[in-house]
């Protein structure tokens, strides 16, 4: 194969002349360095391509909402929208609070007391997502005259989940209580900031 016309293939490059003391060929080094740099660059390019599908700045900007709760009478509930989903804000009556407190935690699928689900000093103000924890339907019971289920809280008509007066799951397929979002009251307790 002493071919002076030069049908060069990589194996025919004389390795002795190329090799340094520790046996690393200059060509191999350049090859590995170049391909590695290109590989790292290629993977880095994936980051923006994936990140662009995450919520954009305008969506994130709408991710907190303020609701005035001062006008809600005991026994009344209103609906607001938080992150494009319904939010239930209910002022419980004394009877509803007593009913919720009377249930032993050991009877609950998702044990939580009403205190744990409300803010200190605002035990009557129950704020939950209006999203059934089963498959995401909107439960009934927030509006006047709607069915409130066997436990007097909310009732999801899709698959028959019953929530009690503290919006805890009592019967039906839903795995957990209606979610309580992060929220804060303002100083005089009239406005909540959700999110």
């Amino acid at each position: 194969m002493a071919d002076t016309t030069g049908t060069a293939t990589p194996d025919m490059v004389a390795p002795e002349t190329d090799a340094t003391g520790d046996g690393v060929r200059r060509r191999d080094f350049i090859n590995i360095a170049a391909v590695s740099a290109a590989g790292v660059g290629g993977i880095a390019v994936l980051y923006p391509l994936i990140s662009q599908m995450a919520p954009s700045a305008d969506v994130l900007a709408e991710s907190t909402v303020e609701v005035d709760v001062s006008a809600i009478e005991p026994g009344q509930a209103i609906k607001a929208i938080f992150r494009k989903q319904p939010l239930f804000l209910r002022r419980l009556t004394d009877a509803e609070i007593a009913e919720a407190d009377a249930v032993p935690l050991s009877d609950l699928r998702d044990p939580q007391s009403l205190e744990e689900r409300t803010k200190a000093g605002q035990k009557a103000m129950l704020i939950t997502m209006g999203v059934c924890t089963h498959l995401g339907c909107v439960p009934l019971g927030a509006a006047e005259g709607e069915a409130r289920g066997e436990y007097g809280g909310y009732f999801c008509p899709c698959h028959g989940s019953h929530y009690d007066t503290a919006a805890r799951i009592r019967k039906g397929p839903a795995p957990t209580n209606l979610l309580v979002p992060d929220y804060e009251f303002n100083a005089d307790g009239t406005v909540v900031t959700v999110g």
Binding site: T5, G6, P48, Q52, A57
Partner: protein, 429 residues
């Protein structure tokens, strides 16, 4: 396909053997862009632009599909959704600048690829079909780029759509109804924007299909090379991988540096500020010009200012389309059997004159439609047609080419033992 001495795909790994029996896709890649595809050993960097054009197509499809996730093709919100991409979407500014500058770089690469073909006679037999498909790809790219430029629904988008569809309106008798049909109305509006979006999404995949045909046709005779002498034997070639994957890889690196320079440091340098003003059907921008890559043809369009049998408007439209359609006939206009301009002293001079003429048309297409630019446009346009229709045919018949090397091997090494009088590879075999 390919030469008889091409390396054969012989998978060693049992999994690769199993795949090869079921679906020989790795074999296809090996034979198309791997060690199984022998390529002339003397290709210079002008031969990088085919791979770079392919890279640009992928780049435009990837960034374009992403932009389409955030863009809304409705005249009421299109401009706003473009700004939404720029301001709200994560990395949206970068993806849009990548797409907009990607179009410019795509055309830059295409022009260099085409001019390489002019210089080295890549269009000549037996490669006519590769050339014809290439011109089809170029036309499809122009249509795609034009419709893409309409989508942001800025002032240049709107008036570009109006002017370019107006070209069809210049056709006698059917022109006006044709233009109204193209737009789906009397002026660009929601109907036009929606169909342009639909077609702008579709055409890149049509381009990809024609690119496959282009490469398929290329792999039958193989690449041309700077000598224009056909491959005769194994010593004329090297395997595509690793030789040209490495060379194309280096070219890609240089290309990306230039591209990133524009995307990150001067993303609007090639655009028009007027396109950041929302489309207004009641006000035309002061200077209405297309993107730079259409300048030469726009200069030809505007060069016709007087009626002669047909209207000036119609002459301009005909000349503009002919300027590209003429390329389809180039393999038959150039009768010289010598491919490479390196061995064609007379043609080489005229090639460079054409390049100067193209440069002039590039400049004039972006200039205001006033004197002296109009007169220079007319001269440059006249020369452009003169080159292809008169100079090329005449030069190819009167020119005395320089002696060609016996083989690529001889051109590279200075000698080829097979190059003896009366001796041919066939006789030795």
């Amino acid at each position: 396909m390919s030469f008889p001495w091409a390396n054969h795909y012989e998978p060693q790994n049992p999994l690769m053997k199993w795949v090869d029996e079921k679906l020989p896709l790795p074999r296809l890649v090996y034979n198309a862009v791997g060690a199984g595809y022998p390529v002339p050993r003397n290709l210079n960097y002008m031969y990088n632009f085919g791979v770079l054009a392919g890279f640009c197509l992928v780049l435009q499809i990837v960034t374009g599909v992403i932009l389409a996730m955030h863009y809304a093709p409705n005249a009421l919100v299109a401009f706003g959704s473009t700004e939404h991409i720029m301001r709200n979407v994560n990395w949206g500014w970068m993806l849009r600048y990548m797409h907009a500058n990607g179009a410019s770089f795509f055309f830059l690469v295409l022009y260099l690829h085409i001019f390489r073909g002019f210089y080295y006679g890549s269009y000549k037999a037996p490669r006519e079909m590769i050339w014809l498909l290439g011109v089809v790809i170029f036309l499809l790219c122009m249509a795609t780029a034009f419709m893409g430029y309409v989508l942001p629904w800025g002032q240049m988008s709107f008036w570009g759509a109006k002017v370019i569809t107006g070209l069809f309106g210049a056709i006698p008798l059917v022109g006006e109804p044709l233009q109204i049909w193209l737009l789906g109305g009397y002026a660009p509006d929601n109907a036009a924007l929606n169909r342009f979006f639909s077609l702008h999404f579709l055409l890149p995949f049509v381009i990809a299909g024609v690119v496959i045909l282009h490469i398929w046709a290329l792999h039958i005779p193989g690449s041309t090379n700077p000598t224009g002498v056909e491959v005769k034997k194994e010593s004329d070639t090297v395997p595509f991988h690793p030789y040209y994957t490495a060379k194309d890889g280096f070219g890609l690196g240089v290309f990306l540096i230039l591209y990133c320079l524009f995307v990150f440091f001067m993303p609007n340098a090639l655009g028009h500020p007027d396109n950041y003003i929302e489309a207004n059907p009641l006000s035309t921008p002061a200077l209405i010009v297309p993107e730079w890559y259409f300048y030469p043809f726009y200069a030809i369009l505007r060069a016709f200012t007087f009626d002669f049998i047909l209207t000036a408007q119609l002459w301009g439209v005909l000349a503009m389309f002919s300027a590209i359609l003429m390329w389809f006939f180039l393999p038959w206009l150039d009768r010289s059997p010598v491919r490479s301009a390196s061995y064609r002293p007379l043609y080489r001079i005229f090639f460079w004159v054409l390049m100067v003429d193209m440069a002039a048309l590039f400049y004039l297409g972006g200039a205001h439609a006033e004197e002296p630019y109009i007169m220079f446009s007319q001269l440059a346009t006249a020369y452009y047609f003169l080159h292809f229709l008169v100079i090329v045919p005449i030069v190819s018949s009167i020119e005395r080419p320089k002696p060609l090397p016996y083989s690529i091997t001889e051109a590279v090494l200075g000698k080829d033992d097979d190059a003896q009088l009366g001796a041919t590879v066939a006789a030795k075999a």
